[in-house]
Assembly symmetry: C2
DNA sequence: CTGAAAGCGCTAACAC
DNA sequence: GTGTTAGCGCTTTCAG
């Protein structure tokens, strides 16, 4: 009596095997105690009927879904792609699936995403929050005690662990090199829209990777009594053309910078394109460094000096941390991840002042 | 009477609002008909109690989950990352969530992934199947009528639509250029393990992007009475070092190739690294082309001539196709996507025979 | 080790 | 419009 137009259920398997539904469920679900005889009888019946477990029904019954929600701004971004791989691999080994939400860095979509995941009763959340004035949706997760771990970014005022990369030491080493090469005018380019006029006035930016990089650079410069000039920090670039415009403005004109810092590999591509079309030599005319170590960094001329970040580790660490939180370890240690400087060849002596 | 240690349910909201559960569900779920008065009363009660809809329960009841399962080999791979972005964006607009499974190209994990997704009762499947001898797990989906769309790869013998990129025309243009530049020995490097001794003996490879590229190249060469030599096709490279070894063997020795084709950007990076360390000039000593157009292709010296593929479109097209299938349009048109040649500068005159 | 029965939270027929 | 009632498929007491 195979069911006509509906899924095979545990009940079907039960009658086929001549056992109770409860016992069938135990055999199929691998819990409780069931005799060897019943076990094999049930499995045979299930196989014969083509039974497919319905984990949705199980979840509504148990209250757990064995899946975690992951929210990122842009899965296309190699940083997130690689993080998600680390997350996915780590969680799978622990028996969890990943429900992925891509927000396009839109705070509204992020709110929707969290709501949807919550509706699916995911057992935990892994979120790289988009830049927003406040985080009521995340706050709500926290107050209702749902396991939440942030990564790549932090949310000011939120008491949730966050896995971020420490760039201080690497940035200091970088700036040491740069300053010792005679540079004192440094430009920084990033894509990150902020309402604030200047980067260090914006409390939100401070909690983003870009903010941390900027602060680390500024701190390192301060040791030499140098400053990051406000007009040399371009954090609001929008798209390739805009990046190139910012770069152009920074390296040309009256008072050009002699070192250019790209906030990530995407920025670096546009920046290098612009420098090339401007016939600006690297590192002859301007030195360049990138906060990211893309696979091609060593292939261009000159090979790029970069601050390399442990990206995969960010993902695995965040996932592991979340597993701890879900297991009830509330006092989980947030792992320390550090970037490191890779000297290749795009930092050179500062061009003599004209 | 807020519930003690359990989720707020529709029942709680109902009593708080003084309406029946059914009516409350209708108001909250936005279906059926409910008066304005009741509607607002329910919403207020829900808000006040902090009600969170349980879409799992809904799914158990309705039989639909409003989510689709996506299975890829490696989310870290820019191709998949970008495809998934297209998929995710397209599906979200249609009201579907994405459950992502990363298999690491392991057929076993792929089987597990499909089973897990099926257990979650996803409404459809979007799969880039790993290379395997056969596809019983996918076949099972097909026979039980579950919406399934493949992308990037095909599964021999499976009657499921597949969204792949047509490289024939672009490859022909590329080979025209190459042959007219005087080349007749062409090497091809890829990472794809196959049991077959030679690429064109393996029926599985034919259905992968790599196989399509190889075939297109071979076909184009044939027009000139030229052949892809078996020993010049290296499809089994494993990891960066192995890729470099293959490249080394291809361009050196008695009878070197004069043109090197990289199957994707990852291969290209290692290949270019090896050529550089070998002091082989491009395109002076050997010409190079890549079946992929990474952002940095124009940055290296020389800028890379590539066959560019519509990656985002692959994702969106596959998602749209799946939406059609899920909507019951069984005779959906598989969209035609084509690659195109981007001439930049890595193809040059063949080195004179020594 | 086994089974009966109640319950998870929501939807859907059916009456009113 | 609204409420009643019976499910959806699985788990989980609680007896035995």
């Amino acid at each position: 009596m195979p069911p006509v137009n509906r899924d095979v259920t545990i009940g079907d398997v039960a009658s086929q095997a001549g056992v109770s539904r409860a016992q069938t469920a135990r055999a199929l679900g691998g819990y409780g105690s069931v005799s060897e005889a019943v076990h094999s009888r049930v499995l045979a019946a299930a196989e014969q009927l083509g039974y497919r477990a319905n984990s949705l029904a199980r979840s509504v019954s148990t209250g757990r879904s064995q899946s975690v929600g992951v929210v990122v701004g842009d899965i296309e971004n190699p940083f997130f792609a690689l993080s998600v791989r680390g997350i996915s691999d780590t969680l799978r080994k622990a028996g969890y699936d990943v429900v992925l939400m891509n927000t396009g860095e839109s705070p509204d979509l992020e709110v929707d995403a969290v709501r949807a995941l919550d509706g699916k009763r995911v057992d935990g959340f892994l979120i790289a929050p988009a830049l927003a004035p406040s985080y009521p949706h995340l706050q709500a997760l926290v107050v209702s005690g749902r396991p939440l771990v942030l990564f790549d970014r932090e949310a000011p005022g939120l008491v949730a662990p966050s896995v971020v990369v420490d760039v201080e030491v690497a940035a200091r080493e970088l700036i040491d090199d740069v300053v010792e090469a005679g540079h004192h005018r440094i430009g920084f380019v990033s894509t990150l829209s902020s309402p604030a006029a200047s980067w260090n006035e914006d409390p939100q930016i401070a909690h983003t990777p870009v903010g941390r990089r900027l602060r680390a650079v500024a701190d390192a410069l301060r040791a030499y009594d140098l400053d990051l000039h406000a007009k040399d920090v371009r954090v609001g670039a929008r798209g390739a053309d805009d990046i190139r415009r910012h770069v152009r403005e920074l390296v040309s004109g009256e008072d050009p910078v002699t070192t250019l810092l790209a906030s990530d590999a995407v920025i670096a591509v546009s920046a290098l394109e612009e420098l090339r079309s401007l016939d600006v030599a690297v590192p002859g005319d301007v030195s360049v460094a990138v906060f990211d170590d893309p696979p091609w960094a060593g292939l261009v001329s000159p090979p790029l000096t970069v601050v390399s970040q442990p990206v995969l580790e960010t993902g695995t660490a965040a996932a592991r941390l979340l597993l701890g939180v879900m297991a009830g370890r509330s006092r989980a240690e947030v792992p320390a991840l550090s970037a490191h400087l890779v000297r290749r060849g795009s930092i050179g002596p500062a061009r003599a002042m004209q």
